[in-house]
């Protein structure tokens, strides 16, 4: 049946590509409303201080300033899932991001001028910038709104275990322990944070033009923060200039913008400049991971023991919950009989971490895949062979209870090993200034959503107009990843209509049905299945009418080329004619259908056991690098990617996700770090925070692996996060192969490489 697909599996350019190419797409930065004001936020000068006094009188007097607010002017609730984060700070500040006051003015320039007129007296305190210091008994409580159960500065801890750890340790022939240190990196969406709030005092309704990735959760969070009725808040999502997980939570600037609009009765817009984006948008979670693993004499893995200390920053965002995903990698990537996992997110006076593509998995995979190389080396085993020996398999239920109904892990590894010429390249002895190396890594990630919230579902409405054009109203969100196009492709496939006759509406909570949001690589899987369900319902209306018009039965119908035809007689009727018959003749029905899809996954129990996703994605990468031993520079030459995607839906969109992910992973591995010293960010700009540029990109060779998962749309699984997850580990493993030293902290800068080479010579 799959061979007959007309649209699915064929490269399809993004439907929304043309308006973006012509500069006609409206981003949050481009919105202008009548009578709109410009908002700006005064942030703390110090990472830890008491606020002695705030004087806004001069700012208020500045011509053009309409409103100035501080914590004492507003009646609001704390935000964050731990409710440990005041929107505007009162009495004390705990990180350099802290919002002290906000201004609304007739121009952006005046708003920023007014910030300089606000006088804040601080009593500076010594901050705590190291999570290990924050764990000490004498450390003060950093966040006074939340104290952890076991220790005062732990915001969230996770404990997971399966199997008999001691027994597995006893039967291990080899055990290795390493510490891995991961830096603070940030999303660098090209479109900075932007919001426009429009509060109507007439009907007490709030409209937010917001770049959120989770509009319905955001609506609820906003309502809680502002003490409003959720249904009085309408979220409209303009075109989003990059997400990557950064917009999964609500941050203080958003309710602040709403408050300024409520106070003034005018629309207010807040747009971050790049420096504010670096300073005040979330980061990936920096952490220290101690990992011990073992293998028996045959090289079969026996156990993993993991302890993680995460620098949470001063308040809690989703970064603290990334162990949900990290523990999966330790418990279930490769077969392992026993696993003990503990992680602690620790408050400090640094900026707080949020969610970022991969959700902890790039860190976990880096540690595990580096550790596997160390274990193989210690045992004198081949690094490829040990991976193949322990690879996951179809039908496996892991120690954590993940069920691999389909699994391309081994095939992915075999593919990149073969295509890259791994074995031959690995054993070439490197000499001279430039030394080449090749590294392997693989990964496991959710590929069918993740049942974390009460529902992991998505609603869809489909509606035909009288001319045979289809509107898909989906709960899901487009952040550039190409979900609109995939959804239109699915509808074009199923209904046999031209893709240009399909519109996707996905940006307004007053219109679209509920969806949990764009995260966890879930949109094609969950929204795709939801759409298939809605189309099935729609066909239940159309097919009987068409069958009647063609004198046949519904089983005999094909939807193709804008027509519905009878396979038996060959007679056909245009689909729009059938629709008009249904609309305009008694009993006069709409050609409209709804469907809500909930993945067949389970909630995990309190021990984190359970089959949390509708499907699991696997991938392997082999990376070839060249190290300049004079400068320490690492150049990535070739990246071989094999990824179990279930089924390729849009090859063009898919390879775009792969290439973008690999290059993002390369930045994480080699150049990116938000440098923070005593709570202050030292490089809040693209000059000193080094993103990869076009000149840095390697050749990327992509080999999709189709395992056709029975739960996915056409067999497809989630794709978006996976490609960046194995990249840093594969690069570090390649550097190790090239120069014979272990690189266990990121980024692998020229300084670190030279230092490692020097230490190696001295040894």
């Amino acid at each position: 049946m799959l061979e007959q697909l007309k649209v699915i599996g064929h490269p399809t350019p993004k439907l929304d590509g043309k308006i973006r190419a012509c500069g006609k797409a409206v981003y949050g930065h481009d919105i202008v409303l009548p009578n709109m004001l410009y908002g700006a936020i005064l942030r703390s000068k110090y990472p830890a201080a008491e606020i002695v006094s705030i004087d806004t009188s001069k700012a208020k007097q500045l011509p053009g300033v309409v409103c100035v607010i501080t914590a004492s002017d507003v009646d609001v609730n704390n935000i964050s899932y731990k409710r440990d984060h005041p929107i505007l700070k009162k009495g004390e500040v705990n990180c350099i991001r802290d919002e002290i006051a906000a201004v609304a003015a007739v121009s952006n320039e005046i708003a920023h001028k007014a910030l300089n007129l606000i006088k804040v007296d601080y009593k500076v305190k010594p901050g705590i910038f190291d999570p290990f210091e924050a764990l000490k008994d004498q450390a003060p409580q950093i966040n006074k709104f939340f104290a952890g159960k076991s220790k005062k500065n732990i915001t969230h801890e996770f404990h997971y275990e399966h199997g008999n750890l001691q027994e597995q340790k006893d039967r291990s022939a080899c055990i290795v322990s390493r510490r891995y240190i991961m830096p603070r990196v940030t999303h660098c969406c090209l479109g900075t944070c932007a919001i426009t709030a429009d509060y109507s005092r007439i009907d007490t309704r709030l409209t937010l033009y917001s770049v959120t990735q989770v509009p319905f959760l955001y609506q609820r969070d906003m309502a809680h923060a502002l003490k409003m009725e959720p249904s009085h808040i309408r979220i409209i999502q303009p075109v989003i200039g990059g997400g990557f997980g950064s917009k999964l939570d609500m941050y203080p600037y958003e309710p602040i913008c709403a408050l300024l609009s409520m106070k003034t009765g005018q629309p207010v817009q807040i747009v971050f400049d790049r420096e504010e984006e670096f300073l005040a948008s979330p980061t990936r979670q920096p952490m220290v991971m101690d990992v011990t693993t073992g293998a028996d004499k045959n090289g079969r893995f026996t156990f993993r023991e993991v302890k993680i200390i995460k620098d949470n920053g001063a308040y809690t965002s989703w970064g603290a919950t990334t162990p949900f995903v990290m523990m999966q990698t330790f418990s279930s990537l490769y077969q392992v009989p026993a696993c003990l996992f503990d992680s602690y997110a620790v408050y400090t006076n640094n900026v707080y971490a949020g969610s970022f593509r991969g959700y902890g998995n790039p860190q976990a995979t880096f540690a595990l895949e580096r550790n596997i190389d160390a274990l193989a080396d210690e045992m004198g085993m081949d690094r490829a062979e040990i991976r193949l020996l322990n690879a996951n398999y179809q039908g496996e239920t892991t120690g954590q209870g993940l069920v691999y109904r389909s699994c391309g892990h081994k095939q992915a590894l075999e593919t990149v090993i073969e295509k890259s010429g791994y074995s031959k390249k690995y054993s070439v002895i490197q000499q001279g200034r430039y030394r080449r190396g090749i590294g392997l890594s693989s990964m496991l990630h959710v590929g069918g959503g993740a049942k974390i919230y009460r529902s992991d579902g998505c609603g869809t409405t489909v509606k035909f107009d009288a001319y045979g054009y289809l509107t898909i109203i989906t709960g899901s969100t487009e952040i550039g990843q190409g979900s609109e196009t995939v959804l239109a492709m699915i509808a074009a496939e199923e209904l046999g209509i031209d893709i240009n006759k399909i519109r996707v509406i996905n940006s307004d909570t007053d219109v679209k049905p509920w969806d949990v949001g764009v995260h966890a690589s879930r949109t094609s899987f969950v929204a795709g299945n939801s759409l298939l369900g809605a189309i099935n319902e729609l066909k239940k209306k159309i097919s009987p009418q068409a069958a009647q018009m063609l004198n046949t039965d519904v089983e005999d119908l094909d939807y193709l080329n804008g027509q519905i035809s009878s396979r038996k007689s060959g007679a056909s009727v245009k689909i729009d004619k059938v629709i008009r018959e249904i609309h305009f003749n008694a009993p006069n029905e709409l050609c409209l259908a709804n469907y809500y899809y909930e993945p067949g996954s389970e909630f995990q129990d309190k021990n984190y056991m359970g089959n949390v996703s509708g499907a699991y994605a696997f991938a392997a990468q082999a990376v070839e690098v060249e190290v300049d031993t004079y400068t320490g520079n690492v150049k990535v030459l070739d990246v071989y990617v094999a990824q179990d995607v279930g089924k390729v839906l849009n090859p063009l969109g898919l390879s775009g996700q792969i290439e973008g992910g690999v290059v993002m992973g390369m930045g994480y591995a080699l150049t990116e770090e938000l440098i923070i010293e005593n709570g202050l960010i030292l490089n809040p700009n693209f000059h000193n925070y080094k993103l990869p540029t076009a000149g840095d990109i390697p050749n990327i060779h992509f080999f999709p692996i189709e395992t056709i998962d029975s739960a996915g749309p056409y067999g497809a699984k989630g794709v978006g996060e996976a490609p960046l997850i194995p990249t840093p580990a594969a690069i570090a493993n390649a550097v190790n192969n090239a120069i014979g030293v272990e690189m266990n902290s990121l980024p692998i800068t020229p300084e670190k490489v030279l230092k490692a080479l020097k230490n190696k010579i001295n040894d």
Partner: protein, 159 residues
């Protein structure tokens, strides 16, 4: 009070005269005075290239360029490339080859590629991959990993 200047210029084929403060940046002038929102603010310091426009055919970071300096000059923004209901070949190639994801960097990318394409054509050069990558180094993209953008540019020279 900042000194005001009157400037005459051509924008996307239309002649205009405006009086503006000397300190106004071209990016703000284009977005806020001319209401052409296609040109994007990405970093404000000439690092990301999202605000690239053409001044007399040369690509400039409009966030670092004073608007008064377009006096007597010809400015093209991303909106100016869409002519007679047709996408420019550069825009078309980016769409067709999948060089656009979130699209925020795209207007700047389009203008940089347009200038590069024109320059290569006028000098009768078919650039190799490395030359193309070099030409794109001033434009950051976080979504695509550049691979498809490079392919789109290569395709411009094959047609």
């Amino acid at each position: 009070m900042t000194k005001q200047h009157t400037i005459s210029f051509t924008i996307n084929g239309h002649k205009l005269q405006k009086t503006i403060p000397a300190s106004m940046l071209l990016l703000d002038f284009i977005r806020d005075e001319l209401n052409l929102k296609g040109t994007k603010p990405g970093c404000g310091e000439g690092e990301c290239g999202a605000c690239t426009v053409l001044v007399d055919g040369q690509p400039v970071n409009s966030c670092l360029f004073l608007a008064v300096n377009i006096d007597g000059k010809d400015v093209t923004t991303v909106e100016g490339l869409f002519q007679q209901e047709m996408l420019d070949p550069v825009q078309n190639a980016l769409v067709e080859y999948g060089g656009i994801q979130c699209g925020f960097c795209t207007p700047g990318m389009v203008m940089t590629i347009k200038a590069f394409h024109n320059e290569c054509l006028s000098r009768n050069i078919i650039p190799d991959k490395e030359q193309i990558k070099k030409a794109l180094e001033g434009n950051l993209c976080r979504c695509t990993g550049y691979t498809k953008i490079v392919k789109a540019v290569e395709a411009l020279f094959i047609r």
